[in-house]
Symmetry: C2
Subunit: 343 residues, 2 copies
């Protein structure tokens, strides 16, 4: 009998239909106790008939909470960031938090600032930053977030801000140590773009381990994470005339590109050159040859980040700290004892 209204049904419409007050409807919707079973049933029926959907904006306005977290991310077309995003997202969903995205187009503080502002104006309950920027203005970020709890992902800040990360410096060390243990002394390196903190840290770790052994990379070239850039970097390395028996690539894609470049010059892997990657993308076990690499467990990272932020949101202040996960060396066939040819 009632005319089909253009507006979506409101709580008052439901209340009228069910013959109760709007407050009772609110109680049913929010699963409050003290609603008589019969009343609840009547209300639920009205909700169904009117296709009532609670208006989140109104609710946020009055409660000042949204059960939504904001994610600031960067470079989500790359494997690492996209995996972090997907896993973090999944973990929040499990805990019934909604997600709002703010992707940066470049790695600068200005972009970061407007992203955080936007998220805050959407009244998120917390913020996750997957922003692998190198120079972090610790106080700037704290000021930016104000009272909104936040967690930095994948960035080493020595506990100066709440953060969850995989120790990439250690990963770089693992890779370098592996090559040293195999007897390599002439080691070349393909780094990622050095304004990414991950790239810097991996490089740093490798450098430290080589340094301890009184060594240094025979040469270093920077790529942009892509296989194509790995190919070009390796080509540059070879053309420079540098001699090396092992190559450290800062991610698996660049390692793949580099292996192709090496092979095209008639170098065999691992007989002539050992190659180590980073990330352990699911494909790397199927490369030719299967790639020795450093695994990063993005699923655990996602879970840990979500758990940490939810703690911050729901328990309030915790002692400021960082949670660190360790990467792991996965030895496959792209590395071998120095100077040992095919059997």
């Amino acid at each position: 009998m009632s005319a089909e209204v253009a507006r979506p049904a409101t709580m008052i419409d439901v209340a009228r239909k069910a013959g109760v007050s709007y407050q009772t409807v609110s109680r049913v919707v929010n699963q409050h106790a003290s609603v008589a079973p019969a009343t609840r049933a009547r209300v639920l029926e009205a909700i169904r008939e009117l296709e009532y959907l609670p208006n989140g904006a109104a609710r946020n306005l009055v409660t000042r909470r949204s059960r939504t977290v904001g994610i600031v991310s960067f470079g989500t077309t790359y494997y690492g960031p996209s995996q972090m995003l997907a896993n973090i997202e999944f973990s929040f969903r499990e805990r019934a938090y909604g997600l709002t995205l703010a992707t940066l187009t470049e790695l600068g503080f200005d972009d970061l600032q407007s992203a955080v502002r936007e998220l805050r104006s959407r009244s998120v309950d917390g913020i996750v930053m997957i922003a692998p920027i190198l120079r972090v203005d610790v106080d700037g970020i704290r000021r930016l977030c104000g009272k909104v709890p936040f967690v930095m992902v994948d960035i080493a800040l020595g506990g100066r801000l709440p953060s969850v990360l995989i120790d990439q410096r250690y990963g770089g060390m693992l890779a370098a140590r592996h090559l040293l243990e195999l007897g390599h002394r002439e080691i070349a390196e393909i780094t990622g773009p050095l304004d990414w903190s991950g790239a810097e840290l991996r490089h740093d770790g490798a450098l430290a381990v080589l340094g301890e052994a009184g060594l240094a990379p025979v040469m270093s070239a920077a790529g942009d994470w892509s296989a194509a850039s790995g190919y070009r970097a390796a080509a540059r390395l070879l053309e420079s005339g540098a001699r090396f028996t092992a190559l450290l690539a800062s991610n698996d894609q660049m390692a793949l590109g580099a292996m192709r470049a090496l092979r095209e010059r008639g170098l065999r892997i691992p007989e002539d050159v050992s190659v180590v990657g980073f990330d352990d993308v699911p494909e790397s076990a199927y490369f030719e040859p299967p790639l020795t690499t450093v695994r990063q467990d993005f699923a655990s990272l996602g879970r840990a980040s979500a758990a940490y932020l939810i703690d911050l949101i729901e328990q309030g202040a915790t002692p400021l700290n960082q949670r660190v996960l360790s990467p792991e060396l996965i030895a496959r066939s792209s590395t071998r004892q120095r100077g040992v040819g095919t059997c």
Copy 2:
């Protein structure tokens, strides 16, 4: 002199500070014309000092718009979905739309329904569904979305719902035709999980082309998109004793896994077996050998989806239709004329 308040500043605080009415502040914030330059300056100054941030919830409540679109996605750890998500996201950001995510954990209508409900209660202005589900309940989805405009991405519905897609069936045809042109007659196939519409369509396209030539795949095995599953599928193919000179894989990762399995059995690519992939992941040019594949242009797909949905949001009803992009065959070294050995 004023006490530092716990609450974030509101429009009224700003108004008081600037000695104007809240409405004037609103005008400044929303860049309305007819505000005297001097007043505007005073207001902006007050905003800066109080670190005022507009409350999005309040704004949404009264305007019934949020300049936010919801994205329903699935399988964002996979290459295709993650690229679609990243590119769609980027395109919306360019047009100053915020994004809210709802990821499905499984491909069912129930999950889809609760995802859409959640997005609607967050009062999104529109919805993008990257849900490569096979069976789509067209009316169900239309009912679910109600008055909220939406666009389906990457799913062929024959124009029954607004959709943007890459013609994957045609992609399957391209791959198969390429192999036929090279003289192959015994063709095996590794499909994706057949409850993904993309997997089904690629398979379908290939089947159609082979059928026209009076052929059919000598054997078919299903994978789950991963390189590991491609490896296992190829192993199954080989163990079955089936003879084939070419292999059609439904994505590049499975092709990679398959190539490894073939090589382990002593088969050379492309001399003994030609292999075609699908997607053209950036790495596939660096596989061993570089992979012939079917390219999908996810950036264009993202742009087209965003543009379409924004049209729908801002212009209102357009003639129901679908926008179709064509994939493209990228011939590399993993395919070759049948029966022509190494030179």
